[in-house]
């Protein structure tokens, strides 16, 4: 699989939904496969809340395969011998694209908490500039799970003529009150870390690692299903040799400790806050008198809406809600309910049924 990692600088100033302006920005990108001469085989994959540009394979300097490696690759569901797959780290992220850890030109200091609030439609605007840069006039498909699915939906709404198919997986047209509440608890945990300093921790040479770790532990529970956790860990006690923490009793505790610890080393706390805020505020119908049907009416892309039965964070009713509105709007849309063992995280993993649906959708005509 031909893989290219590139950080691309954009001179364009980007007016954000908040009204603030980013004068120039950078996007960290990774592409897989080859763009054909007509530039008609491009697929954009959008990362979820804590994902990044590294979606597939392992290229130089990377130690882990990408977040959608089970789906993207030569001969895989999104076949890179056939399609040119574009992945990027969204603005506000912390893996190479402009975000809170970037040095602001004006101050010479990291933006930190001063990085402007970003939204899903801001990401789509930045992705549109990336498409222009790559010479891609129309995506064959834009796909993503969770917050990534929201970007796929936003693409179909914002640029009806520039996207043929949108795969909206384990996502919703707006998140629930309960999701906002969970995000707020995570933000609160981070902000109350003594090293957070109202978001200016970088200039003080500190990191709110404990807050970030605990927030991630909470989040991680919501990404899994109850049955998956039971099956995987049950009530097994942690082997004493490999305890993350002396107080740990059960394997599940150790697992969360480990995952939280790893995450806190690689993610930025201000990015965490920005990303969750972007998720909270996503509601494309708000520009259409809060009428989702009206909001979907101009879509020309075909939609695939997929939900997983074990997902309690974005339950199937959310996907069905988009589908019912799509039917009212009279647009082409398929809704499928998939078996998934991993709760919300099911969208990351290959299963025959899931892969078949996505592959058939990507390769369908009409």
């Amino acid at each position: 699989m031909k893989t290219v990692s590139e950080k691309i600088s954009f001179g364009d100033s980007l007016t954000l939904e908040s009204g603030k302006v980013l004068s120039g920005f950078e996007l960290m990108t990774e592409t897989y496969g080859k763009l054909n001469s007509d530039k008609t085989n491009a697929v954009l994959v959008c990362h979820a809340f804590s994902g990044n540009h590294h979606a597939a394979g392992i290229s130089d300097g990377e130690t882990k395969s990408g977040w959608w490696d089970e789906i993207i690759g030569d001969g895989k569901t999104i076949d890179t011998t056939k399609f040119f797959v574009v992945s990027l780290n969204n603005i506000g992220g912390c893996h190479g694209s402009s975000g809170p850890t970037t040095i602001a030109a004006e101050s010479g200091q990291p933006y930190g908490a001063n990085f402007p609030e970003v939204s899903v439609s801001d990401w789509v605007e930045a992705q549109k500039l990336l498409a222009d840069h790559l010479g891609i006039n129309c995506w064959e498909m834009v796909a993503g799970g969770s917050l990534g699915g929201m970007q796929a939906l936003q693409w179909a709404i914002s640029y009806p003529e520039k996207i043929k198919k949108a795969a909206i997986i384990a996502a919703s047209s707006k998140i629930s009150t309960q999701n906002i509440a969970l995000n707020e608890v995570a933000r609160e945990i981070i902000k109350k870390d003594e090293h957070f300093h109202n978001g200016d921790y970088l200039s003080k040479g500190e990191l709110p690692k404990n807050g970030l770790k605990a927030a991630r532990m909470l989040g991680h529970i919501t990404y899994l299903s109850e049955s998956n956790m039971s099956k995987r860990f049950g009530r097994k006690l942690q082997d004493p040799e490999n305890k993350m923490d002396a107080d740990v009793n059960y394997e599940v505790e150790n697992y969360l400790q480990y995952k939280g610890e790893q995450f806190s080393k690689t993610f930025d706390a201000n990015s965490y806050i920005l990303m969750t805020k972007a998720m909270d505020s996503f509601d494309p119908a708000k520009d259409f008198d809060n009428d989702l049907v009206k909001c979907l009416q101009n879509i020309q892309a075909k939609l695939l809406i997929a939900s997983f039965d074990s997902d309690w964070l974005f339950p199937k009713e959310y996907g069905l809600d988009i589908q019912m509105s799509a039917i009212k709007a009279g647009i082409n849309s398929a809704y499928i309910e998939l078996d998934g063992d991993y709760g919300h995280d099911s969208f990351l993993f290959y299963s025959d049924q899931y892969a078949a649906a996505l592959k058939n959708f990507l390769n369908s005509n009409g």
Partner: protein
């Protein structure tokens, strides 16, 4: 769906109409309706394999149980509903019929006729009958509420479902004098436009 039946259904569905097909199977009918009659079509299907076939066909489909699902499609602006060889698989066919007529003003129903002589012979032989229209063995059939043409038309009278058009087809899938004169005995399938 065989070709004669399909051409009747195609004829009854107006160009550019918004169609819902309950039990749409692999989505072939909707594909043809979309290509030939420019309909805006949606299928409702609960079998994941068939859903995938619909996706391959590029047909809009919703994975849902029909018995539970029909009433969700009220107020969606459907001009016509189709239920092809599915009504006998439903848990509550009468309620389903009532609901379908709330989803769209008109509906096309096709059903296998359990009164056909071939099936009657099977019963006389003391066995659960089978035919080209009803091939499954008794232990694996999805049919819960098989009926004869006489039964179905009685239901329509009782519930004031107005049969606007109907066609009876024999075992070879064509109209014949016998099937038209004695449909309950000689028709293998019936197709109705109800509204």
């Amino acid at each position: 769906m065989d070709s004669k039946l399909q051409s009747i259904v195609l004829n009854w569905i107006p160009n550019h109409s918004k169609v819902v097909d309950f039990g749409c199977g692999d989505g072939n009918l909707l594909r043809i309706l979309t290509d030939q009659k420019s309909v805006i079509g949606y299928g409702v299907e609960n079998d994941p394999e068939k859903i995938n076939a619909c996706i391959i066909n590029g047909v809009s489909v919703i994975q849902q149980d029909i018995d539970d699902g029909i009433q969700n499609y009220k107020g969606m602006g459907f001009d016509i509903a189709v239920m092809a060889s599915s009504i006998q698989c439903l848990r509550k066919p009468r309620d389903a019929m009532k609901n379908i007529l709330k989803v769209a003003n008109k509906c096309v129903i096709t059903l296998p006729n359990f009164g056909n002589w071939e099936l009657r012979l099977g019963i006389l032989n003391g066995k659960m009958p089978s035919s080209a229209q009803l091939p499954a063995k008794w232990y694996e059939t999805k049919n819960l509420h098989l009926c004869t043409i006489a039964d179905f038309e009685e239901l329509c009278r009782d519930e004031s479902f107005v049969i606007k058009k109907k066609v009876y087809l024999n075992r070879r899938g064509s109209s014949s004098l016998l099937a038209n004169t004695f449909p309950n005995l000689f028709a293998a399938q019936a197709v109705y436009l109800i509204g």
